[in-house]
Symmetry: C2
Subunit: 282 residues, 2 copies
Amino acid sequence: MAQAVQASIGDSEFDRDTAVTLRAPGVYDAELSAGWTIISAVNGGYLLALLGRALGDALPHPDPFTVSAHYLSASQPGPAVIRTSVVRTGRTLSTGQASLLQYGEDGAEIERIRVLATYGDLDTLPDDVRTTAKPPVMPAIQDCLGPSDGPAPKIPGSSAITDRLNIKLDPATVGWVVGAPSGKGEMRGWFSLADGRDADPFSLLLTVDALPPTSFELGLKGWTPTVELTTHIRCRPAPGPLRVSIATRNLAGGFLEEDAEVWDSADRLVAQSRQLAKAPRG
Amino acid sequence: MAQAVQASIGDSEFDRDTAVTLRAPGVYDAELSAGWTIISAVNGGYLLALLGRALGDALPHPDPFTVSAHYLSASQPGPAVIRTSVVRTGRTLSTGQASLLQYGEDGAEIERIRVLATYGDLDTLPDDVRTTAKPPVMPAIQDCLGPSDGPAPKIPGSSAITDRLNIKLDPATVGWVVGAPSGKGEMRGWFSLADGRDADPFSLLLTVDALPPTSFELGLKGWTPTVELTTHIRCRPAPGPLRVSIATRNLAGGFLEEDAEVWDSADRLVAQSRQLAKAPRG
């Protein structure tokens, strides 16, 4: 099969839209692209990738090992500033803090997200793999369903992000598209960036929050705002499409958790995340 | 059976040892008790409870909903200071930050833990429960095993914390005590405070990090230092003993995750946590 020229890491839509520019020590300017919006706001995983890149520059270690983000207010496309500070530096790990801020009508800064993150160097980790988790069982990529394979799901507001991602969902988890949600809090699919750029630790920060929310398959529609999202990056991903599974086991009291696992083409569990989100009222 | 007088919430060993004293706006003095040490350091869950209480005082909402802690250096018994700041206050949620610091030989402050946390009011949440997770299957409390029921496990260093907790482990997860670990990354048990104080959201922050590490059942001995621990408190726990299950599914590259679930006597999933820890070398 013919394939378009593949964008490389460092020269892709994702890299351009997550670029940060050093303005002063620890302070980075960024432009939140309208291309990564969904429903009513900029996607939280895209924002996490931006913050991750700023911290990767500010800290002595290159790779996010664990990133804890508390979401404070909904980001809008446009200018933003990321303020970082180094909390601790060690030989193998360093910890930093970052805030993403935008500007109100009066020019005052409004904080969107605050992050604590511990970084290291994935290339220095030992080779031992004693993972007992198994990759999600789902059909081959050509038997999974993307936006062009059927009726468009009714999502209110923007769906610009869907043009930038190549997500093919397991047919068992797309009942919500046709008004027949499974009732199970599960979503599974194949994931890659639309321009073919391979995954790296920063794009994994996007990947963990890129699938439709599990709440859609629980019959709840609408905005599922993230309160907090923590991601562990455990391995540098191999080239090729990723498999992502997300699951919710505790929808109660108006909140739900979402656990994501990301598997690479070499069957390594490369990222694990958990978020606490507000349940839609629908 | 006769039972000793039960300590009440607010008047117990746990409450005394997690007390914080306001020194200045947002700044609290604390004394890290030697009674909550394990192996070579003060237990991370006990420290989290201390930080949780300080933030509960500093923020307008009383209950921790999600607490993300990055552990920077090992705490020692003795004086400490907790510095808090309010990140955002909203109608239903507020977010704060806190650092636990101790003092070096030269009197300089050394940061032990930094926390981001979002608080709310558990009593205002709606009653809906659509939890699909099930409580862990394990024997009745009288058929589970505590320190007085068999050979003492060989843990190097302090085990003072075991006197303050009433933990009875599922016999299926105590093979490590007699040198025959199951090889499964699982640990399950009944949990209560030794003086009978009932659980509340702050003691749950201790509970999620109180069982022996799953790595013991994976045949690894020794110190499993937490890098990051995020806890969701989802419901005010009912009185009575708690059931705790922890599981590791991804031991690789010198790190492991540990997921904990805490269930109360009313079969509610009251807390979920995940930590990233360094795997012991043994």
